[in-house]
Symmetry: C2
Subunit: 162 residues, 2 copies
């Protein structure tokens, strides 16, 4: 499956910002950035990308699909882990170059391939000693080795697993 290129938008600027026509703006790679939050808690779960096909399938099925930049293929979130995402609401922003999905997680409710609920499990903190990361809300909900069957999935070598 190849990455589909989006055709140029035809809507004018006023329509894009103040109209009701959906005219998503894909970037040079045919992608739009998508922020995903939990419909239940409001927590940011992940930031991913969609091409036009992933967007169309998400709208059609109600289940979140993305374009995996690392695997270079369409990616039904949770296709392997069972942690799929049911879209409760989709929003777009003022210039329609970003999407926000509010989702309900299926499976064990963990979004991140490392086994955690959210991909954002570390805070960036700066001080006299420089800038470093602190683990927050980092409890693992599942063991990625058991779910994906790869010993090194949680070590970053298999980030392409969902």
């Amino acid at each position: 499956m190849t990455k589909s290129k989006a055709s140029p938008r035809k809507a004018n600027a006023a329509d894009i910002e103040e109209g009701t026509a959906f005219a998503p703006k894909f970037d040079a790679d045919g992608l739009v950035a998508v922020v995903v939050t939990s419909a239940e808690t409001g927590e940011v779960l992940m930031l991913a990308h969609m091409n036009s096909e992933a967007l169309a399938r998400t709208l059609e099925t109600g289940e979140a699909q993305f374009w995996s930049r690392s695997r270079k293929r369409l990616w039904r979130k949770g296709e392997e882990s069972g942690n799929t995402m049911c879209v409760v609401e989709m929003r777009t922003d003022c210039d329609q170059d970003a999407l926000w999905l509010k989702v309900e997680m299926a499976g064990v409710g963990a979004c991140c391939h490392t086994g955690r609920k959210s991909c954002f499990y570390r805070a960036v903190r700066s001080g006299k000693g420089g800038t470093s990361l602190t683990f927050v809300d980092a409890e693992k909900v599942f063991d990625p080795e058991k779910v994906y069957g790869h010993a090194n999935v949680a070590k970053g070598t298999l980030k392409t697993q969902d």
Copy 2:
């Protein structure tokens, strides 16, 4: 001011996902995607980008700065409108190619250049008649024409204003 290119990361995959070293992954354009939420309400306010300089200045000052892709320059959010963002917490994701800022808004508390609290003021809805947008949480907090002094700022021709 030119867009600064990030140097390649030196950390290995395991360190990137499970370590405490901050090693943000900038894309080919030297940018990292940043989702901004309200520290008060949890609402997604905007999705923007930082280059390494914007990130460094944000960490140094505690006030959100971005790289404006349309203006091609560093952009201190609220520099014109007064609606600046005080960073309460910054997080990064598993592979450190995205950031999440929880912010407190200054000024009148509106993030979007159209005068609204959030840039995500329209829901994408699909039905028998196709896919269209519905305004939600779309009340204007300020009049962009008065704030920016341009008659067409809210019509999309001056999206580059913050």
